[in-house]
């Protein structure tokens, strides 16, 4: 453990953000990485709790107290190993995880939590910088092959895991680069893309094949993949947008946020000499009055991009009411992630957020281009009890309107239809224990659980590769099948019984309401950085 009583002497030192006026002029990471000494000091605040809630709060179950201690003692090399024992890509989560571990940290009860995420990032970056993260191709190959559709964090994680077990993995990606929403949604200010490339290259060196620019369902049918490979994993994300149903939606200059973010990320790629695709119809915020509909993180990323493009002004409309910016609301007690309103990195840079406001109509300039957004105030706290306030109508100049109110489910065309997969009540691919209704076809990530987080996507990918139970329980069942089964399993290691007895853990429809998640996303990626 760290220092006894260390938390009483050492204070939390959060992310060191760059000056907003400076960073808004580039596409670089918006904060500085901490020094080794500071990270070690911060690691010393960890109390090595008897019941480490952080470890439970992290969807990956990261061994946080263990790595905190190693960092505190300066044993970075072991820390790198420990971090990779539960997380394939600690550099991704270290950068853009909303860190539910930190809201669950015991120190969050009455103090400031350990800077777990920064430590995680520090560990990963140290691992890379010191050349400790090197290709470790599997010693033997099983001769089985797997096709993974989609190269987001879920697809990358499942590919990594399966490859380590010795299976031959090919990842099909319709975009020109791997990473899914991490590449095309998340701006470089949060996650510079060479970081994804670095990891993808490592996976390639270990034997994973990435085939970009292949749209499964168009360029190759899913059924064909099913035939050519021993197993197919769908990690296609949850990409169908929620629609804004108001008059004027068809006007020019009204777009889904994702279309804009894709273009902006491609523009940066182009500038930096990475592969990119030209847009059919360019969306730009330069010099315009921009209105962002939806107060979640996608909206924030739109603000940050619009400001970098030189928008005249950016207004964000959020239907939900403002929440206190600190403290713990009673309905999200520790160790749950608290519902609070924080000033995000994007709003630090500019832009303006209005609460309790909804868009009622979009008005054109006569030439089919959007010119004004009409809205009104609403009252209420959840999507179920929102009421319009009479006489509160307003209008805003709007030359670009970006719709960032979330995604509803994965694409039902393409592979899902090709393979005739069952869906769950919310339209996600039904795959209890990751096996879909088609034998040999698996699903994980946002495609299975609906839109969530990078950390959940990685966890999904990992579990999809080793579904079911803990080794101990699995062995029990193997024993029931007889001695031969045990010996076979022992020879292979106990991890790779992909087609194990299913336990139903298909996620349930969410019970709580989606307060503040203007686009159903909640505050992600940086919520802790404000502390």
């Amino acid at each position: 453990m760290g220092e006894i009583g260390g938390f009483l002497r050492i204070h939390r030192v959060g992310f060191d953000k760059r000056d907003p006026r400076e960073r808004v002029r580039d596409y670089k990471q918006y904060f500085h990485t901490q020094s080794e000494e500071e990270l070690a000091r911060q690691g010393g605040r960890c109390m090595d709790c008897g019941v480490p809630f952080c470890h439970e709060g992290c969807p990956l179950g990261n061994p946080i107290p263990d790595w905190n201690d190693l960092v505190y003692r300066g044993d970075w090399r072991r820390a790198v190993e420990v971090a990779h024992s539960t997380n394939n890509f600690p550099e991704f989560t270290g950068l853009i995880c909303p860190a539910p571990c930190e809201s669950a940290c015991v120190l969050d009860i009455n103090d400031d939590p350990v800077t777990i995420e920064q430590i995680e990032l520090g560990i990963a970056e140290r691992g890379w910088a010191n050349g400790w993260i090197v290709p470790e191709p599997p010693a033997t190959r099983t001769g089985r092959s797997v096709a993974v559709v989609g190269s987001g964090p879920a697809g990358m994680a499942v590919a990594d895991e399966l490859n380590r077990m010795g299976h031959s993995v090919t990842v099909f990606e319709r975009d020109e680069g791997v990473g899914g929403l991490m590449r095309f949604g998340v701006p470089d200010a949060k996650l510079e893309k060479w970081i994804i490339d670095r990891r993808a290259r490592l996976l390639e060196d270990e034997g994973v094949t990435f085939l970009c620019d292949v749209d499964v369902g168009r360029d190759v049918s899913a059924a064909e993949l099913r035939e050519r490979f021993d197993a197919v994993v769908l990690a296609i994300g949850s990409r169908v947008h929620r629609e804004l149903e108001v008059p004027g939606r068809d006007l020019e200059g009204v777009h889904f946020a994702m279309d804009y973010l894709y273009q902006r990320n491609r523009a940066v790629a182009r500038e930096e000499g990475r592969p990119w695709r030209a847009a059919e119809r360019e969306i730009t915020a330069a010099g315009k009055h921009v209105v962002v509909v939806g107060g979640g993180d996608t909206g924030m990323d739109c603000i940050s991009n619009s400001l970098r493009e030189g928008a005249a002004d950016v207004k964000m409309l959020d239907v939900y009411p403002e929440l206190p910016s600190s403290g713990r609301p009673e309905n999200t007690p520790w160790p749950l992630p608290p519902k609070r309103t924080l000033t995000t990195y994007a709003l630090d840079e500019g832009g303006e957020r209005t609460w309790n406001s909804e868009v009622t109509a979009l008005e054109g300039d006569g030439d089919g281009r959007v010119a004004r957004a009409h809205g009104r105030r609403v009252e209420g706290t959840s999507s179920r009890d929102l009421r319009a306030v009479p006489g509160s109508e307003f209008a805003l100049p709007a030359q670009l309107v970006l719709i960032a109110i979330g995604f509803s489910h994965p694409d039902h065309d393409g592979p899902v239809r090709d393979l005739g997969l069952d869906l769950d009540a919310r339209g996600n691919v039904r795959a209890p224990v990751y096996a879909t209704s088609r034998p040999g076809v698996f699903a994980c990530g946002d495609a299975r659980v609906g839109q969530s987080l990078v950390v959940t996507a990685i966890a999904e990918g990992r579990k999809c590769a080793r579904p079911g139970r803990r080794p101990l329980e699995r062995l029990a069942r193997l024993l029931a099948r007889g001695r031969a089964a045990v010996l076979r399993a022992l020879a292979q290691g106990l991890g790779d019984d992909v087609n194990d007895d299913p336990v139903d853990d298909q996620p349930q429809a969410p019970e709580g309401d989606d307060q503040t998640d203007g686009d159903g996303e909640g505050a992600r990626g940086e919520h802790r950085r404000e502390a």
Binding site: F7, H55, H84, E330, L494
Partner: protein, 897 residues
């Protein structure tokens, strides 16, 4: 081989490899041991085990207990090399590190041995004083022959599977050489199941707090989720009660016909967690909650702040543990229940420890000790070596408070039923059976994992033995040990419990998050800390505890309705409403046989299976009633009263009830010294002058038995030989053994010799005696003892406070004194004044020629006195003096300005 004359067998698992799976070392040792015993060749050879497995005290203890004469824990030793290389051992050399570990294990073993009452490893070796929990009878009969195993359990096949499974984690070599953390001591997601995990802790906390929706149902739902998790999942995997099922084939009754929750909670208490272990804030929160509910909170060991006596913060149960810290007459007088703690679930026999850094001024005041000096509760009660002694202590406590129930807390272990029957016969009102899964984070790790048995077993045995001996109706049976849900309560009631003790769960309700750092004083939520900064962080309220226990009681009611039972009275002892759970998932549970637990002894129809009547009255013939009547003017109006009485050895604890009357009326201050003076003649029974309160002076001409002056609480006690005695008083024993045990104040003068264990655990009494037996001043933490003659061996063992002055005429004292914690000091001028004053008082009260001789040739005698001074005490006094000087110093500049 043994037949061939080989006389040392070495069992080794060094050859484990891809093809070879290690047999659990204990199984190997026990199997070979018992095989040789059966062959009749066991005595011809020694058994040595060389294994990678043993690494903890408990491992070593069991290996030795099953016959290993030597152990080579090679992997444990090699791990030290590893740790050293990783730089985790600082500057330690390999040899030093190995030395330390071996020493630590040795100490642990010593504790284990001493708690079993065994003094040499030779006699422990092969003694197998264990109870197996969860092993099948055939396996036990063959390889652990003679070990008690009451609930059956797994057999060789399962052990083999587990061995294979462990092996599979190492072969083939996994990609990473990281070992799983395991989670035995610290919870980990993939580790061992624990009683509390993040989910259950969070759900419990959420269920008792406002949830922001203003919705009472939310609490209920959250509690239900909590209870569901605990009952169905955790319990099934780890707890015996999880293997029991409530019968469903009975006619339910409507819920509204079941006794209200407000009645049920009156049967709840919180466990004895001491102030010192808990912060005052946390401790008082529990007390207030229990008082509001009509239940009972427990002081735990170590006294209670008198400021709490008058109000809601008072603990109804006052504990009397072996340390007797803060057990004054006023403490006793302010109890509803007095609990003699024989052993506690988590730490049987190990006594309690309070590290010096937790003993701040407040704690020190309550315990009548010195801030900064660590406190050890000796493992045994020095006044209980037999059930007769226990009966005496129960009697003494009854005198100290005739209105309070007297309870005995036992740990559930083999034979607890018999002990409980003894407790009932000793006239206790109440017995607590504490299961093995309780305990705080301060308990030594080896105890948390492997002491005692689950309460289900202990409780069932207790119930059955009490019924069989027709004692059940006169004693209240309480169960204590990780009660968490209404289902736990119902199962316990069905197995025979009248009352229910909760420890961890109420603390969790107030915010405890099971840090298991209670002993470090760094509890971040201010529950188990004395640090003012951390205490400020405590955010628990009595409502949290009240809400939680009400939820538990409501849950209890619902289950009662399902069982067709309307009142707790009807529920208690109905083991027939339980049955063994058929579908038990965890493979270890297969083969468990619960018949023993579920047996209901035949009793006459209508004979009660619960407590229905109080124990026999024992105080009616006490001498004190007469004293109280005669002392009425003093008690009521503070007038001086002088009495003369005969005393006989049937009169026990004389002065106890009188002192109770004083404390009840006048609190701890009592009456001014000498208000009630009684001169006795004769031979007093045990515990003469017990708890004697301030304002009472007893002078006995004659002699007194064991336990004289037990818990002396400010009174003055003198014993001198009758006039005209024909012998030399300074050569004869005048008071028995264990005199002044746990005294907290007052003065005592004995004209003659005392027996063994004089002034053990004295914390503030001043005493003069003319010689004493072995173990004088053991574990003393305060006060003064003057011995004007020879002491026995082992004087001052474990003494951490107070001062003893011993007249060392034959210069042999050094050899009789245990110098582990104490040293000999210069007698300063202040000391001299103190010493001389006390000897003068001794001379005056007893007319002792010994004292007179010393006084008359003072300068000659003074140098022969040895001042016995505990090191810690000296250090702490110096620090306190410095602090006082520092405070004065800081003030100075301000004065000058």
């Amino acid at each position: 081989m043994v037949a061939e004359g080989i006389n040392v067998l070495i069992l080794s698992d060094r050859e484990v490899g891809a093809e070879r799976v290690a047999i659990p070392s204990l199984l190997a040792v026990a199997a070979v041991h018992h095989h040789l015993v059966r062959e009749g060749t066991r005595l011809r050879c020694g058994l040595v085990i060389e294994s990678g497995e043993p690494r903890e005290t408990h491992h070593m203890a069991t290996l030795i207990g099953y016959g290993a004469a030597a152990i080579n824990p090679y992997l444990m030793l090699e791990s030290l090399t590893d740790l050293r290389q990783a730089g985790m051992l600082g500057e330690l050399s390999q040899a030093e590190a190995e030395d330390n570990v071996v020493k630590a294990i040795g100490k642990g073993l010593l504790k284990v041995l001493s708690k079993m009452g065994i003094s040499t490893v030779q006699s422990y070796c092969g003694a197998q004083i264990f109870e197996a929990v969860g092993l099948e009878p055939e396996l036990v009969a063959r390889h652990f022959t003679g070990t008690a195993s009451r609930i059956g359990g797994v057999g060789l096949d399962v052990l083999a599977r587990e061995a294979l499974e462990r092996h599979a984690r190492g072969y083939p070599r996994p990609d990473s050489d990281l070992l799983p953390v395991g989670g035995l001591y610290q919870w980990r997601r993939d580790g061992e199941r624990r009683m509390w995990d993040p989910e259950t802790i969070a759900l419990l906390q959420h269920s008792v707090r406002p949830n922001g929706n203003g919705d009472g149902d939310v609490s209920q739902q959250t509690y239900d989720r909590f209870a569901h998790l605990v009952d169905e999942e955790n319990a099934r995997a780890g707890m015996l009660r999880g293997l029991l099922r409530l019968r469903e084939d009975v006619r339910p009754v409507p819920l509204d016909e079941v006794q209200p929750a407000t009645e049920i909670v009156k049967r709840f208490s919180t466990g004895g967690m001491s102030l010192g272990a808990l912060s005052p804030e946390a401790h008082e929160t529990l007390a207030v909650a229990m008082n509001r509910l009509g239940g009972r909170s427990n002081t735990g060991e170590g006294g209670e702040d008198e400021a709490r006596y008058g109000d809601e913060r008072r603990s109804a149960i006052k504990q009397v543990a072996s340390g007797r810290f803060g057990v004054t007459i006023n403490y006793l007088a302010n109890a509803d229940q007095l609990q003699i703690k024989i052993a506690q679930g988590a730490k049987p026999g190990e006594g309690g420890q309070l590290p010096g850094h937790k003993v701040d001024r407040y704690i020190a005041r309550l315990r009548h000790s010195t801030p900064g000096v660590g406190l050890i509760s000796p493992p045994p009660h020095h006044d209980i070596y037999s059930i007769e002694d226990l009966k005496q202590l129960i009697y003494d406590l009854r005198c100290g408070n005739p209105r309070a129930r007297v309870s005995v807390k036992l740990v559930a272990e083999v034979g607890v039923g018999t002990v409980a029957a003894g407790v009932a016969k000793a006239n206790a009102d109440h017995v607590t059976i504490a299961g093995h899964d309780g305990g705080t984070g301060a308990s030594p790790q080896s105890s948390i994992q492997s002491a005692g048995v689950p309460w289900e077993i202990g409780l069932a045995e207790t119930q059955q033995t009490l019924l069989a001996n027709d004692l059940r109706s006169r004693i209240i049976v309480e169960v204590d040990g990780q009660m968490r849900t209404g289902r736990d309560v119902v199962v316990a009631a069905l197995l025979g419990a009248d009352e229910f003790g909760f420890s961890t769960a109420p603390l969790i309700a107030t915010g405890c998050i099971m840090m298991r750092v209670c002993h470090l004083n760094t509890c971040p939520v201010g529950i188990a800390s004395q640090d003012p900064e951390l205490r400020r962080r405590f955010a628990g309220t009595p409502e949290h505890v009240v809400n939680y226990l009400m939820l538990v009681a409501e849950h209890t009611r619902r289950l009662m309705a399902g069982l067709g039972v309307r009142t707790m009275e009807e529920l208690i002892g109905r083991a027939d409403l339980l049955e063994a759970e058929a579908a038990i998932e965890h493979w270890k549970a297969g083969g468990v046989d619960l018949t023993n637990v579920l047996t209901m002894p035949e009793v006459e129809p209508g004979a009660p299976r619960r407590r229905t009547e109080p124990p026999p009255r024992v105080l009616d013939d006490a001498l004190d009633w007469d004293l109280i009547a005669a002392a009425r003017p003093a008690l009521e109006r503070g007038e001086k009263v002088g009495l003369q009485r005969e005393v006989h050895n049937v009169h026990r604890a004389v002065g106890g009830i009188l002192s109770h009357e004083i404390a009840r009326r006048h609190g701890s201050a009592g009456l001014p010294e000498g208000t009630i003076e009684v001169e006795f003649h004769g031979s007093a029974g045990q515990s003469f002058g017990a708890w004697l309160a301030s304002g009472v002076t007893f002078t006995l001409r004659g002699e007194a038995n064991d336990y004289t002056g037990k818990g002396l609480s400010g009174g003055v006690l003198t014993v001198l030989p009758p006039d005209g005695h024909p012998y030399l008083a300074e050569e004869n024993v005048i008071v028995g053994n264990t005199v002044l045990y746990g005294a907290t104040g007052g003065r005592a003068f004995f004209r003659g010799l005392a027996g063994e264990r004089f002034a053990v655990r004295n914390s503030d009494a001043w005493a003069v005696v003319e010689g004493c037996g072995d173990h004088g001043c053991e574990y003393m933490t305060g006060g003064r003892v003057i011995v004007l003659g020879r002491t026995g061996r082992n004087f001052a063992a474990g003494m951490s406070g107070g001062i003893a002055y011993v007249l060392d005429e034959d210069e042999g004292f050094e050899g009789r004194c245990n110098l582990e914690l104490v040293g000999f000091d210069e007698i300063s001028a202040d000391d001299e004044r103190e010493l001389r004053g006390l000897i003068a008082e001794h001379a005056q009260r007893t007319g002792s020629p010994v004292a007179e001789r010393i006084l008359s040739r003072w300068s000659e005698y003074l140098p022969r006195f040895v001042k016995v001074m505990p090191h810690d005490y000296k250090r702490a006094l110096a620090e306190l003096a410095q602090e006082a000087a520092g405070i004065a110093g800081e003030g100075e500049p301000a004065l000058r300005e």
